[in-house]
């Protein structure tokens, strides 16, 4: 093992840097807090939001989220690293998540993964040189009836065949699902004004029936 110590005294966040999170994102994060009894509970939604807007959750973003939710940056760091869906370093524009559960593997999931690696010239957790794709694996995408399957950002590609890969990768819309969405949830952060009808008051309620 290496006995060189990693220096944790060095700051990774420039204290003078301009804020990373836009006013809209901040407001939206704070609006989540009304749903829960503790501010901290809004951490996961906040991380999702930040990752969706910035592509990843950087150190500075962690500090800013911590300040918003009245917790320590270390708490954010702690929670964030537990979940495989959040990353602290930039990834490609589209993240391909290949399922490696048993159903998928029995039906050729590993071959799909290998083909993708060869095609994109990257290893797992790598990002292609054009910054277009990143490749990760996930234990199960709960799409076992469509095995082997893979997820590109939001879109689940089912019954992926090796021959289909080129077609899927070439498709510009391969990461979007076309469906009606909730106005409450998917409204862009800036326009965020309406909350689920009652979200501001209900948590103060303590009596029942």
């Amino acid at each position: 093992m290496s006995w060189k110590a990693i220096d944790r005294n060095q700051a990774v966040v420039d204290a003078d840097a301009p804020p990373l999170l836009s006013e809209g994102v901040r407001e939206k994060i704070l609006s989540y807090t009304h749903r829960y009894e503790t501010k901290r509970a809004a951490l996961l939604p906040a991380l999702h939001l930040v990752q969706n807007t910035l592509g990843h959750v950087s150190w500075q973003a962690m500090v800013e989220i911590a300040a918003l939710l009245d917790i320590q940056p270390s708490d954010v760091f702690d929670t964030l690293t537990f979940y495989t869906h959040f990353w602290t370093h930039p990834k490609g524009e589209k993240v391909i998540t290949v399922c490696r559960s048993l159903s998928c593997e029995v039906l050729g999931g590993a071959a799909v993964l290998d083909a993708l690696k060869a095609r994109l010239g990257i290893e797992e957790h790598g990002t292609s040189s054009d910054g277009q794709y990143s490749l990760v694996t996930e234990e199960c995408l709960a799409g076992c009836d469509h095995a082997p399957c893979m997820l590109i950002n939001e879109k689940l590609h089912k019954n992926v065949k090796l021959d289909d890969l080129e077609r899927i990768l070439a498709d510009g819309d391969n990461d979007r699902v076309d469906m009606p969405r909730s106005d409450l949830f998917d409204a862009p952060p800036v326009a965020e004004s309406k909350q689920p009808a009652s979200a501001t008051e209900d948590d103060s309620r303590t009596t029942d029936d």
């Binding site: 939604p45 076992c144 029942d208």
Partner: protein
């Protein structure tokens, strides 16, 4: 599952036109205790894996509580389970209706639907449905015009199997790492935000509208007495029609795979080698054991942990059992939360052994080592905080025990000196 496959099944209009929210109206007209009694009478056992009766779980809530919280467990991460996904994708309003009934019965005023982060499409479907329900007055300040108020939020997970455990889910909802909590106190006494909390699975809640509508007797009339009600069974792997099918719980694994209205038999040229009948954690069946009944009791006769999620994955005879072993071991090695020693170290050790066996450097003693490690992780209940460790034990143990000849043959066929070479290179 009556609305699956119906065009526009996700919209409120279609759902209402097919008799939706009738049960909720009925339930809200009743006394809360009467609803609990009805569910108890239906002997609705939790569909999430453990099979604990939902009504009894509600009964644990302290009588003098002022606030109750309801969590809907939609963190379906057990491979190869996908019935909740199907339910949410095609019949979101049924879940919402079930949630309303459960929330009313437990006097909860907030319901959190904890949905795994991999579900994107399903999230949009369900969120849209919730919006519709708010607009139509099924959720919000005055549910169905009564004084009962209910808020419903979706909370998205982010890729952690262990958050499907109810206390892990609660921790995750509180914005912490999803490590299961020590019990007691049970969530019913002190759960989310230290309030009495009920955690129920999507499928369990989806049963509620039917129980309320048609009565407990209808429900108990389906299937064997200890495993009442219809259940969703998932079939995946090299079968003709992988998917999610509803049946009573007296169906056998063989039927599930071979019936034409279900799995539809194996793909041509493939034979069954092994089946994980209840999700990975429950353990494996050999081809000779396919007559096992998919209920809450029978799996124990086949040295399995239980029914689990009733999601069967079929492994065909072309698949090396070492691959299966490694896949299973890796799953637990990656997904252990790392809190309890046995689980943290044991799963990762088993993963390393299984990987080495697959790479062609297995030793005979590795098989015994796997068995012993598995035993040390789940020798007795209570060795770890949650059930993940037991869940990791059963598949490994049953694979090694039931497929030992094949594993031994594979190890015997390795070239001499392979083990030493691999170990030397690795260390």
């Amino acid at each position: 599952m009556k609305n699956v496959g119906v065009d526009g099944s996700t919209t409120l209009k279609v759902y209402e036109s097919r008799g939706g929210y009738v049960a909720a109206r009925k339930a809200l007209a009743m006394d809360t205790n009467a609803v609990v009694e009805e569910v108890k009478k239906a002997n609705l056992r939790g569909r999430g894996g453990a099979g604990f009766p939902a009504g009894v779980k509600w009964g644990f809530l302290p009588k003098d509580r002022t606030t109750t919280l309801l969590c809907v467990n939609a963190d379906e991460s057990e491979p190869p389970t996908f019935c909740n996904r199907v339910l949410m994708e095609h019949d979101p309003h049924q879940l919402i209706e079930g949630t309303i009934i459960a929330a009313y019965a437990t006097r909860s005023q907030v319901a959190y639907i904890y949905m795994r982060g991999e579900f994107h499409e399903q999230f949009h479907v369900l969120q849209k449905a919730i919006d519709e329900a708010y607009e139509a007055g099924y959720l919000g300040k005055k549910v169905l015009g009564t004084d009962y108020a209910l808020e419903c939020y979706i909370h998205r997970g982010a890729g952690a199997y262990v958050c499907g455990e109810e206390t892990g889910l609660i921790e995750s909802l509180e914005g912490k790492r999803g490590q299961p909590r020590i019990k007691p106190p049970f969530p019913a006494i002190e759960g989310l935000f230290r309030r009495p909390t009920v955690v129920n699975n999507v499928e369990t809640l989806s049963c509620l509208p039917h129980i309320m509508e048609r009565g407990a007797d209808w429900f108990t009339g389906i299937g064997p007495p200890h495993s009442a009600g219809p259940k969703l069974f998932c079939v995946s792997g090299p079968v003709n029609k992988p998917g999610c099918y509803e049946a009573a719980m007296d169906i056998t694994v063989r039927e599930l795979i071979e019936r034409d209205d279900m799995g539809g038999g194996m793909l041509s040229g493939r034979k069954v080698k092994a089946v994980f009948p209840g999700g990975l954690s429950m353990g494996v069946l050999t081809v000779d054991e396919l007559d096992m009944k998919m209920d809450f009791e029978d799996p124990r006769n086949y040295s399995l942990l239980g029914l689990g999620t009733a999601a069967a994955v079929v492994v065909d005879d072309a698949t090396d059992i070492r691959l299966v072993l490694r896949n299973v071991a890796r799953f637990y090695g990656t997904e252990s939360c790392g809190q309890c020693t046995q689980c943290r170290e044991g799963t990762s050790w088993m993963q390393r052994i299984a990987q080495r066996i697959e790479s062609g450097a297995g030793r005979m003693e590795d098989l015994d080592l796997l068995l012993e490690t598995a035993r040390n992780m789940g020798m007795m209940p209570g060795l770890s905080i949650c059930g993940l460790s037991d869940g990791a034990t059963y598949p490994i143990e049953t694979i090694v025990k039931k497929f030992r000849p094949e594993l031994e043959a594979a190890i015997r066929s390795q070239p001499a000196g392979q083990v030493e070479a691999v170990l030397q290179a690795a260390n």
